[in-house]
């Protein structure tokens, strides 16, 4: 069964490109170009996955998540951006997105990422994995200790993602099952969203003005 997807990006041309790249892999049920247009559309269509641009003319992707999530908790968000800025990416993840991929991702990989997010797993691009390792680097910790540190296994998995390994390759390398690798990544996502580490809150608040 094809996943029902809504596409939110302010660039018409980019949306057309994604539609073309994804082809028959998913069913794109709707598109929006702004926060204001996206919220009612997603509430109405109730898709499985929303592909969400980090930057929108009337606010960030966080605005869309905040406007939809309370009413439609089943909708999952995958952030899609050209942004290199760690704070932008971390903010949208902390708002509730289940993953982040760069816009240069191939259609095939994007379809796989959508499927993974639809199943409730997390999707980390190498870049996001790097940011997270940086944010959870050795240093001060505050609050809940369990949420503020990564286990050495989680660290290992993230570093392999950053180095460009796919989940299957990571599983083979670490002698784990793919399911276990996915569980580690989901656990990192949870810590990323719930931890009150200083670096994370700083990133979430110090948004770069574009």
């Amino acid at each position: 069964m094809k996943r029902r997807v809504v596409l939110v990006d302010d660039h018409e041309l980019f949306r057309a490109g994604v539609r073309g790249e994804l082809g028959e892999a998913v069913e794109i049920v709707g598109e929006a170009g702004s926060v204001a247009a996206a919220i009612p559309l997603i509430r109405e269509l109730d898709p499985e996955v929303v592909l969400l641009d980090v930057h929108l003319p009337d606010g960030g992707g966080e605005g869309v998540i905040a406007g939809v999530a309370p009413e439609r908790p089943g909708v999952r968000f995958l952030a899609l951006s050209v942004s290199d800025a760690a704070e932008d990416v971390i903010s949208v993840i902390r708002a509730g997105a289940r993953g982040y991929v760069t816009k240069t991702i191939s259609g095939e990989e994007l379809a796989a990422a959508i499927e993974r997010v639809a199943q409730g797993d997390a999707v980390f691009s190498p870049r996001l994995a790097g940011f997270v390792l940086d944010a959870f680097a050795e240093g001060e910790r505050v609050g809940d200790a369990e949420l503020d540190v990564l286990t050495s296994r989680e660290r290992e998995v993230l570093q392999l993602i950053a180095r460009g390994y796919r989940y299957k390759e990571i599983a083979a390398r670490l002698h784990l099952s793919v399911k276990t690798v996915e569980a580690h990544v989901s656990s990192v996502l949870r810590k990323l969203q719930l931890s009150s580490r200083h670096e994370l809150t700083r990133w979430a608040h110090e948004r770069r003005l574009v």
Binding site: T102, D134, A137, A162, R163, G164
Partner: protein, 353 residues
């Protein structure tokens, strides 16, 4: 008629409908307006003159007679307030001179038309006004002249400074235009020429994106100042040369020094190797800057590295990577197996602090 500021009221009128029209225009009660005019009329008839001025103005917008009547009304009002006639006339002349300068324009710059009428009115007004009100003897006339000059030169200086900011803005615009021409437009031209070559177009677009992004959000200088910037430069170069894609990720960053430059060069060799021999179109580069060491991984998931089958020149490149890292005080490890891709690991301990 453009910008009708005021019209006499045909319905709400006692005399000519001036007060009614003004009240409608200002959105206040007509009785209040009439009261103000009545009070002004008591001040030497200023209210009457003002009423006439608005009447004249309202009937087909005759500006100059109306302005003259307003000036007369102001003069009457000021003298009614107890100011001496020469002060009143001086002030009136100053206002009239300024009005002439503003309306007629002109400037004191070479080639500009001199606002002679305005200057004469201003000077005369200044002499009269200051001559009566400043009583410190010999400074009166020079003071008046200086005052009048300030009144004329002031707007001119203001105009000059606004022209200067305008010029700075124009220069900035020219710099942006030059920058966009040198980079974006050139890239677009290249993309048009190579429209059929998908990989090359993609590489050009990615490289341009990185450049523009660094210029807009980064250090803004062409020369990379940090490890990640330098790796991004190298990655863009290899992408363009070999038509492949390089995904660059990092955790932390470090300022570039001589040892790190060697590390970047070694990473460049590793990327070149991967681009040439791996047979895949995507290379991953990951840089981690920790407290104790800096590690860079260059990985592809291509045909892999088989020592026995390595061509002589490639072995040389591997040695040059290793040799370079050793000279910088670090290590290089190449890991690979046939069919499982290749990964080059470059480690450099942080020497100081």
């Amino acid at each position: 008629m453009t910008a009708v500021f005021f019209e006499r009221s045909r319905e709400d009128r006692v005399l000519a409908g001036v007060c009614g029209g003004l009240a409608a225009r200002l959105g206040v009660d007509a009785t209040l307006v009439r009261l103000v005019f009545a009070l002004l009329a008591l001040a030497g008839g200023a209210g009457i003159l003002l009423y006439l001025a608005l009447w004249v103005y309202g009937d087909g917008l005759r500006t100059w007679p109306a302005a003259a009547l307003v000036a007369a009304a102001a003069a009457v009002l000021l003298s009614a307030l107890g100011l001496s006639p020469s002060t009143v006339i001086g002030a009136t002349l100053l206002v009239a001179g300024l009005a002439v300068v503003l309306v007629r324009g002109g400037s004191l710059r070479p080639g500009g038309s001199l606002p002679i009428l305005g200057i004469v009115l201003l000077l005369a007004g200044a002499v009269l006004f200051l001559g009566r009100n400043v009583t410190s003897g010999p400074f009166i006339v020079p003071g008046a002249i200086v005052g009048a000059l300030v009144l004329i030169v002031g707007p001119w200086i203001w105009q000059l400074t606004s022209e200067r900011t305008e010029r700075i803005r124009a220069e900035e615009r020219a710099e942006v235009a030059a920058r966009i021409h040198d980079s974006v437009l050139q890239t677009l031209a290249l993309i048009q020429r190579h429209a059929g070559d998908e990989r090359r177009v993609a590489a050009l677009a990615r490289r341009q994106e990185r450049e523009l992004r660094r210029w807009l959000y980064g250090s803004g200088v062409a020369e990379a100042a940090s490890l990640v910037d330098a790796l991004a430069d190298v990655a863009a170069e290899i992408e363009e040369l070999h038509g492949i894609r390089i995904e660059l990720a990092n955790a932390g960053d470090a300022p570039l020094d001589d040892d790190l430059r060697q590390l970047v060069l070694a990473a460049r060799e590793a990327m070149t190797n991967a681009a040439k021999f791996s047979g895949v179109e995507e290379i991953f580069v990951y840089a981690e800057s920790g407290h104790e060491e800096i590690v860079v991984f260059v990985r592809d998931s291509g045909v892999g590295f088989e020592r026995a089958a390595v061509a002589a020149d490639r072995r040389g490149i591997v040695e040059s990577i290793e040799g370079r890292m050793q000279r910088a005080g670090g290590t290089a490890t190449v890991v690979g197996a046939p069919g499982q891709g290749t990964e080059v690991e470059l480690r450099l301990p942080r020497s100081s602090a």
